[in-house]
C-alpha cells in the first residue's frame, strides 16, 4: 500500500505530466488553477512535492538563478517512472470503481 496517492498528490503528478521540463512551483500552481479552479498555496505544493520526492515518485533539480527574483533559483520537478506507475494505478482504480456510475452519482448528489 506504499504507493497510495492522495487527491492532491494525484493532481500534482498530473500537473508534472502536463508541464514536462517546465514544472516549477509557480507553473504548477497556475496549471492546477487553470484546469480545476482550485488555488493551491506555494507552500502546500512545496511540502507535498518534498513528500513525493522522499517516496521517489518525483525528482527535483535546482535551476539557474532567474533575474528579478533576488537571485533565488527555481526548483524544477519531473515525474519519475515509479511516480507515473503509482498515478496510473490510482487513476485506474478510480476509473474501475466509477465505471457506469456517473449518472447515478449525479442523481445522488442532486437529490
Amino acid at each position: 500500500m506504499n504507493d497510495y496517492l492522495g487527491e492532491f498528490e494525484q493532481i500534482l503528478l498530473f500537473a508534472l505530466l502536463e508541464l514536462g521540463d517546465e514544472a516549477y512551483g509557480g507553473a504548477i500552481r497556475q496549471a492546477i488553477e487553470e484546469r480545476t479552479g482550485r488555488v493551491a498555496s506555494s507552500g502546500a505544493i512545496y511540502t507535498a512535492m518534498a513528500r513525493l520526492a522522499d517516496r521517489r515518485f518525483v525528482s527535483a533539480r535546482i535551476g539557474q538563478p532567474v533575474p528579478g527574483r533576488a537571485g533565488r533559483p527555481r526548483k524544477y520537478y519531473s515525474l519519475e517512472p515509479a511516480g507515473a506507475r503509482a498515478l496510473r494505478r490510482s487513476y485506474a482504480t478510480i476509473q474501475a470503481m466509477a465505471g457506469g456510475l456517473a449518472g447515478k452519482l449525479d442523481d445522488a448528489a442532486e437529490g
Binding site: 516549477y24 512551483g25 509557480g26 507553473a27 500552481r29 497556475q30 488555488v39 498555496s41 506555494s42 507552500g43 502546500a44 505544493i45 512545496y46 511540502t47 518534498a50 513528500r51 532567474v66 528579478g68 527574483r69 533576488a70 533565488r72 533559483p73 527555481r74 526548483k75
Partner: protein
C-alpha cells in the same frame, strides 16, 4: 502612468515578501519565497488587478506557512505555529474562550480606565519644573469648611515676607471681551500678579517678559494657546501685536501652551498689580495665591509663618477677619480639591474587580485544564518538557490576553474621559491619555499580571501529575479537594455580593435621575431664551451709564412682536455660576449664627421672575419704580422666609449685604416667591434673595442675562434679539445664546453620566458573576462526571441531575446575595440622602432576585450538559 504603477507593484511586493520571510523559515524557505514571487508576477502579468493580486499573495503566504508548519519538515517560526494551533482550539472551545475573553476585557478595560484617571490627576508630574515645590495659600474660617481666596491686604502682607519663597503669584478671574473685530468675543480672563507664571516655572510657547513689563504698569497680555490658534490662526508674529481687550489696546507679549495654562480654563491673562487695587476692595478675598517655596523651607515652617502673618493682620485690621487662618496646600491639592476621595473609591472598586475577574478566568482555566489532562499527559509522555507544556498552555492565554488587551484599551479610551469628567477636575496637564506609553504600558502590565496569575498555578499543576494514572484513567479520576471547592464557592459569593451592591446603587441613581427629570424645578424653562451681554468698562464707565443701557435693552427686547415676557438677571436659575452673598438679618443678635449667613443673590431687571414664571407667594414683584433713588427693596424665596422668620410675615423685614468695611444699607423685603432649585439641580433649594439691578452694586453688575419668553421658534427670536441689541450698541459682546431648556438638560449631564457609569459597572459585575458561576459549575460537573454517570446508570432522570447540579452552588449564591444586600443597605444609610435617596425595599428585592436568576441561568448550560452524559463512557472514565 506606467512607471508609477510599476513602482506601486514592487512596493506592495516588498511588505508581503517581508511577511513571508518572517512566517516561512527553514532550508526550503528560499524556494517557496521564489515561488511566491512567481505567483505574484504571474498574476500581474495576466492582468489581475493589483489589489486582488496582493490579496491572493497574502492568502498564499498564510496558507503556505500553515502547510509548512503542518508538514514539520522544516522548523517554521514556532511562535506562529503555536498561535495558529491555539487560536483554532480556542475558536472550537467557545464555552471556555468567550467567558474568559469577556472577563479579561472588562477587567483590563475598567482597571486601565481608572489608572488613566489616577495617572492624569495624581501620578503624572505637574507640567511645571519642580512643580511639587509650589504651594497655594488660602484662608479658612473656623465656622465654615470652605476655602476662600486671599484679600489684597493679605497678599501684600505675604509678599513682604522674606526668605519664605522664591516667587509669589496671584490670580483672580475677570470677564473680558476681545473687541476691535467684527464680532466681540467673550473671554475667560484672569488678572494675575506679574510673577504668576514665574512662580509656576512655565515657559511661554512664544515670547515672554510679562513680569517686567507688567511691573512697569504696561497693559500686556499672555494668550492661551487655544485662543491663539482659534482666533489668531496661530500667527507666529503675534508677539508684540496690539489687540483690543475691553476696547483698550493691549500688547500681546506671549503665548502659554495649553499644557501649562493655569488656571486650565483661562483664555487670556492680564496683569493685576496690588497697588492698583482700590482701598474699598482691599479686604475682599478673591485671589488665588501661589508661592514657590525657597530651598530648605518646609511645610511646617510655611504654616508657622502664615500663622504669624494672620496675627499681624488681626492686629492691623481689628475685627475685620474673625477666626480666620491661612493655610497652604500643594498645587495638586488646589486643583483636585477633595475629588481625590472619589478616586480612592474608584481604585478600591477596580481592585476588587481585578481580583474577581482574575479569579474568574483562573477558574475557567482550571476547568479547561481538567478536561485537557489527557492531552497534556500524552504530550508529557511523548517527551514534551515541562517548559514546553507550560508554554503551550500559556499560548492560549497570550492570545486571549492580547485580544482582551486590545478590547480593554478601546473600552478604557471611552471610559476614562467620562470618569475624569465625573470627578470634575480641571487642572494643568490633567487630561486622560489612554494612547500614551504610560497607560498602554499599564494595560499591558495588567494583562500580563492577570494572565500569569491565572495561568501559572493551573499550568504547573497540570505538569506535575502522575502520567501513567492520568493516561490510564482517561484523565478524569482526580477530584478537587474540599478547599478548592470552598474557594470557588467564596468566589461566587463575593461576586454575588458585589453584583447586588452595584445593582442596588444603579437602580437608586437611575431612579433619582428619573425623579429629577420629572421634578418641578420651581421655574418654567421651556420657551425661554437667554442671551448674555456685558457693558464694557471703556464705554460705560459710570454706573448710571450701564444701568441706562440695560434698561434700554430690556425695553427694546420686550417690544419685539410675539414676546410674552422679558427681563434680565445676573445669574440663570441653573448652571454653574451662582453668587453667594454674606448677609445680616435685622432683629437678630450679633452672636446669633444667622447673623453671619450666606444666601444666593440674584440681581435682576423687572420682568425676570415673570419670564421664568417663578410664582409670587406674597407681596409684590419688582417694577420700574424700584429706581436707585427709591427705598432699597428685595424679594426673598419661600425657604429664605421660613428659615429666618418661621411662622411670621416677612414683608417689611430688613436684611443687608455684609462686608468687613463697606456701608451697605438695610434692604426692605417687599415680596416672597417660590423656591427655585438653584444649587445645582440636585440639592434642596437654597435660600435665595433678589435685588433690583438699579439699586445694587456688585462686581458682576456689568453682566446681564436677558431672558425672553415666546411661543415663536427660539432661533428666530435669537436672531431678532441679536439685531435689537446691535441697534442699541453694535459693539456690545453677545455671548451664550441658549435655550433655558437646554441649559437645564445640560445641568443634569454630570448626574446622567454618573448613573450611566454605575449602570456599566453593575453590568460588568453581573457579567463577572455569570462567567464565574458558569466556570465553577462547569468545573464541578467535570469533576463529578463519574458520580453523575453512576446516577444516570442507576436511573436518575435528566431533570433530577440538573436540579442536583444547580443546587450545589445555590447556598453560596444566596449567602453572597444576603451579604450584598446588607452592604447595600449600609451604604444606603451612610450616603447623604441629598446625593442618593435611600433605597426602597423593592429595589433590594429586584437586585436579589436578579442575582439569583443570573446565577442559576449561568449554571444551566453545564447542568444540562451533565444531564446528557452518556452513563457508560462517563462511568468508564470517571470511576476507575
Amino acid at each position: 502612468m506606467m512607471p508609477r504603477k510599476a513602482e506601486s507593484r514592487s512596493s506592495c511586493g516588498r511588505g508581503l515578501r517581508r511577511l513571508a520571510a518572517w512566517l516561512i523559515r527553514g532550508d526550503a524557505a528560499r524556494f517557496i519565497l521564489a515561488d511566491l514571487d512567481d505567483a505574484l508576477a504571474g498574476d500581474l502579468e495576466r492582468g489581475v488587478p493589483p489589489w486582488r493580486a496582493r490579496l491572493r499573495m497574502s492568502a498564499n503566504i498564510f496558507a503556505s506557512a500553515l502547510s509548512v508548519a503542518r508538514s514539520w519538515q522544516w522548523s517554521p517560526a514556532p511562535l506562529f505555529v503555536e498561535l495558529v494551533q491555539s487560536s483554532r482550539t480556542l475558536a472550537r472551545d467557545l464555552a471556555f474562550s468567550l467567558p474568559a475573553l469577556i472577563s479579561m476585557t472588562l477587567t483590563i478595560g475598567a482597571t486601565t480606565a481608572v489608572f488613566g484617571v489616577v495617572d492624569a490627576v495624581v501620578l503624572r508630574p505637574l507640567p511645571y519644573p519642580d512643580g511639587e515645590r509650589i504651594r497655594s495659600v488660602h484662608v479658612s474660617y473656623a465656622a465654615r469648611a470652605q476655602q476662600f481666596g486671599l484679600s489684597a491686604a493679605r497678599v501684600a502682607a505675604l509678599a513682604a515676607e522674606e526668605g519664605l519663597f522664591t516667587s509669589l503669584g496671584w490670580n483672580r478671574d475677570a470677564a473680558m471681551t476681545l473687541t476691535g473685530r467684527d464680532e466681540p468675543l467673550d473671554l475667560n480672563g484672569y488678572r494675575i500678579g506679574p510673577d504668576m507664571f514665574v512662580t509656576l516655572g512655565a515657559e511661554p510657547l512664544l515670547g515672554g517678559g510679562f513680569a517686567e513689563r507688567a511691573r512697569r504698569g504696561e497693559r500686556v497680555a499672555y494668550l492661551h494657546e487655544g485662543l491663539w490658534r482659534q482666533e489668531f490662526g496661530a500667527d507666529p508674529t503675534i508677539v508684540g501685536q496690539r489687540i483690543q481687550v475691553d476696547d483698550l489696546p493691549t500688547t500681546v507679549v506671549g503665548v502659554i501652551s495649553a499644557k501649562q495654562a493655569f488656571p486650565a480654563d483661562a483664555d487670556i491673562w492680564l496683569p493685576l498689580l496690588l497697588e492698583s487695587i482700590p482701598d474699598n476692595e482691599l479686604h475682599s478675598g478673591n485671589m488665588t495665591v501661589l508661592v514657590r517655596l525657597a530651598p530648605g523651607v518646609t511645610d511646617a515652617e510655611l504654616a508657622r509663618r502664615l500663622d504669624r502673618i494672620t496675627e499681624n493682620i488681626h492686629t492691623q485690621y481689628p475685627g475685620s477677619y474673625p477666626d480666620s487662618a491661612m493655610r497652604a496646600i500643594t498645587l495638586r491639592e488646589l486643583v483636585v480639591d477633595g475629588a481625590d476621595e472619589l478616586l480612592v473609591v474608584l481604585l478600591g472598586a477596580v481592585t476588587l474587580l481585578f481580583v474577581l475577574g482574575s479569579a474568574n478566568v483562573a477558574n475557567l482555566v482550571l476547568v479547561r485544564n481538567r478536561r485537557q489532562r489527557v492531552m497534556v499527559a500524552t504530550r508529557a509522555a511523548l517527551g514534551g518538557s515541562r517548559a514546553m507544556i507550560v508554554r503551550w498552555l500559556m499560548t492560549e492565554l497570550v492570545i486571549l490576553g492580547g485580544l482582551a488587551a486590545i478590547g480593554g484599551t478601546l473600552l478604557a479610551a471611552n471610559l476614562a474621559p467620562a470618569l475624569l469628567r465625573l470627578t470634575q477636575i480641571v487642572g494643568p496637564g490633567m487630561d486622560v491619555r489612554v494612547m500614551d506609553p504610560r497607560t498602554l504600558g499599564f494595560a499591558i502590565l495588567v494583562t500580563l499580571l492577570g494572565s500569569l496569575a491565572v495561568a501559572i498555578l493551573p499550568a504547573l499543576a497540570a505538569t506535575r501529575m502522575d502520567l501513567s494514572s492520568v493516561l490510564r484513567s482517561g484523565g478524569l479520576r482526580a477530584s478537587a479537594g474540599r478547599r478548592a471547592r470552598r474557594s470557588q464557592g467564596l468566589l461566587i459569593a463575593g461576586q454575588a455580593a458585589l453584583g447586588v451592591v452595584l445593582i442596588v446603587i444603579a437602580t437608586q441613581t437611575l431612579g433619582e435621575l428619573q425623579r429629577l427629570r420629572t421634578r418641578d424645578e420651581g421655574f418654567r424653562a421651556q420657551g425661554v431664551l437667554s442671551v448674555q451681554t456685558r457693558a464694557p468698562e471703556s464705554r460705560y464707565a459710570a454706573r448710571v451709564q450701564f444701568e441706562q443701557l440695560f434698561r434700554t435693552l430690556r425695553e427694546a427686547v420686550a417690544e419685539m412682536p410675539g414676546i410674552d415676557a422679558a427681563g434680565g438677571t445676573s445669574h440663570l436659575p441653573i448652571g454653574q455660576a451662582r453668587a453667594s452673598f454674606s448677609i445680616s438679618i435685622e432683629d437678630l443678635p450679633p452672636d446669633d449664627p444667622n447673623h453671619m449667613e450666606a444666601a444666593h443673590g440674584y440681581v435682576v431687571l423687572p420682568g425676570y421672575l415673570e419670564t421664568v414664571q417663578v410664582p409670587l407667594v406674597a407681596g409684590r414683584l419688582f417694577d420700574d419704580s424700584d429706581t436707585p433713588d427709591a427705598e432699597p427693596v428685595a424679594m426673598v424665596s419661600r425657604s429664605f422666609a421660613e428659615h429666618y422668620w418661621p411662622g411670621e410675615s416677612v414683608l417689611g423685614k430688613r436684611l443687608k449685604r455684609r462686608t468687613y468695611t463697606s456701608p451697605f444699607p438695610w434692604i426692605t423685603i417687599v415680596g416672597v416667591v417660590e423656591d427655585v432649585h438653584n444649587d445645582g439641580i440636585e440639592g434642596a433649594p437654597k435660600q435665595a434673595f433678589y435685588m433690583p439691578h438699579g439699586q445694587t452694586a456688585t462686581s458682576f453688575s456689568r453682566r446681564m442675562f436677558f431672558v425672553v419668553r415666546s411661543k415663536r421658534p427660539l432661533d428666530q427670536i435669537a436672531a431678532e434679539v441679536r439685531s435689537r441689541i446691535a441697534d442699541v450698541d453694535p459693539d456690545l459682546p453677545i455671548a451664550e445664546i441658549a435655550e433655558l431648556d437646554q441649559v437645564l438638560r445640560d445641568s443634569r449631564a454630570t448626574r446622567r453620566l454618573a448613573s450611566v457609569m454605575i449602570a456599566v459597572f453593575a453590568a460588568v459585575g453581573l457579567t463577572l458573576l455569570a462567567t464565574g458561576t458558569y466556570g465553577v459549575v462547569a468545573f464541578a460537573v467535570a469533576q463529578r462526571r463519574g458520580e453523575l454517570g453512576l446516577r444516570c446508570a442507576l436511573g436518575a432522570e435528566g431533570s433530577s441531575i440538573v436540579r442536583l447540579v444547580l443546587r450545589a452552588n445555590l447556598g453560596y449564591l444566596a449567602a453572597g446575595t444576603v451579604l450584598g444586600l446588607a452592604v447595600a443597605a449600609a451604604i444606603s444609610r451612610a450616603v447623604d440622602p441629598g446625593v442618593l435617596p435611600p433605597a426602597a425595599p423593592a429595589q433590594f428585592a429586584i437586585a436579589g432576585a436578579l442575582l439569583i436568576v443570573v446565577g442559576l441561568a449561568s449554571s444551566l448550560p453545564p447542568a444540562l450538559r451533565a444531564s446528557r452524559l452518556d452513563p457508560v463512557s462517563s462511568l468508564r472514565s470517571g470511576l476507575r
